[in-house]
């Protein structure tokens, strides 16, 4: 069985992964001590991360360090001149990268966003599972997770779980 590409992401009920100006404060309402919504277990099931350049820069700036330093991390960019000791900048063909990763040995591959990368992967038919945490809010504006004109994809619900905070996590397999 080849390696799976899994999107693990949080969204408002109206489909935004961030409010305008990359504002993620809507996530604060579901931050509860001792509750990681399965993230640690998920994170231990992957050994590779693919992440868009803008998202990576944003997360790195917020934290002050690379959040995926224990994983093989590909940062997808259009800028072929970028290099780093910590991550692999990749500016080549995305389909080629995914094909290469899936045909090599390893654990699952975590797509950590952003929306542009998720949509490129959906268009390429590369996503195997989607784990979406639906946050109990209508944000009204911001960055939409799903762009328009995507290919249709049937899903199979693998699991769903609701939490005290009102977060509902939906775990789907993308049927091919």
């Amino acid at each position: 069985m080849s390696r799976k590409v899994i999107v693990y992401i949080a969204s408002s009920l109206d489909g935004y992964i961030a409010a305008p100006n990359d504002d993620l404060s809507f996530l604060d309402a579901v931050q509860v001590e001792g509750e990681d919504y399965g993230y640690a277990a998920f994170y231990s099931s992957i050994d590779t991360v693919i992440i868009g350049r803008k998202t990576y820069d944003w997360v790195r700036a917020q934290l002050g360090f690379n959040p995926h330093k224990d994983k093989k991390t590909y940062v997808i960019t259009n800028d072929s001149s970028k290099t780093s000791d910590e991550v692999t900048y990749y500016s080549g063909d995305l389909n080629h990268l995914i094909t290469k990763l899936k045909s090599s040995e390893g654990l699952a591959i975590y797509c950590d966003g952003g929306a542009q990368l998720v949509n490129s992967l959906l268009i390429g038919g590369h996503i195997d599972e989607i784990i979406m945490s639906v946050i109990p809010v209508v944000l009204g504006d911001g960055i939409r997770l799903f762009h328009e004109k995507l290919p249709k994809a049937q899903l199979r619900l693998l699991h769903s779980k609701s939490y005290e905070t009102g977060l509902v996590q939906l775990h789907y397999q993308v049927l091919k």
Copy 2:
């Protein structure tokens, strides 16, 4: 306590309530004999329906009859000349109608779509509860439930339930 306005609607994971050309065939995958996903119980808890004119015409044409004949039904339209024995066409101020309905005696008020009416009600702050059935599919294109530039609204998860078909029903209270 004044009457509640409740949106009861089905959506794809990517937020569409219909595929292009008003195609609702994505709902077929969750049609199972003996499973109405709580619709009958919900329907018995309401006595009034508000529905957009285009949605009403579409449903009526599909069924060949008014689906809400046992309920007081307001069809929201811009055309002030429309009349009917079966429903009340309403072309006045939507806020005025909702205020009037909420201040009168009765059971809850069911908003049966379409997206345009739901969004107008969200903008007016009139929606008290949202019951959304998430269908396990990425439709990729069609009619989006939530338009852009809506006011932000915090939600409280009242209930969630997943079904064998992979449908997950999310029931929220809209916090004011």
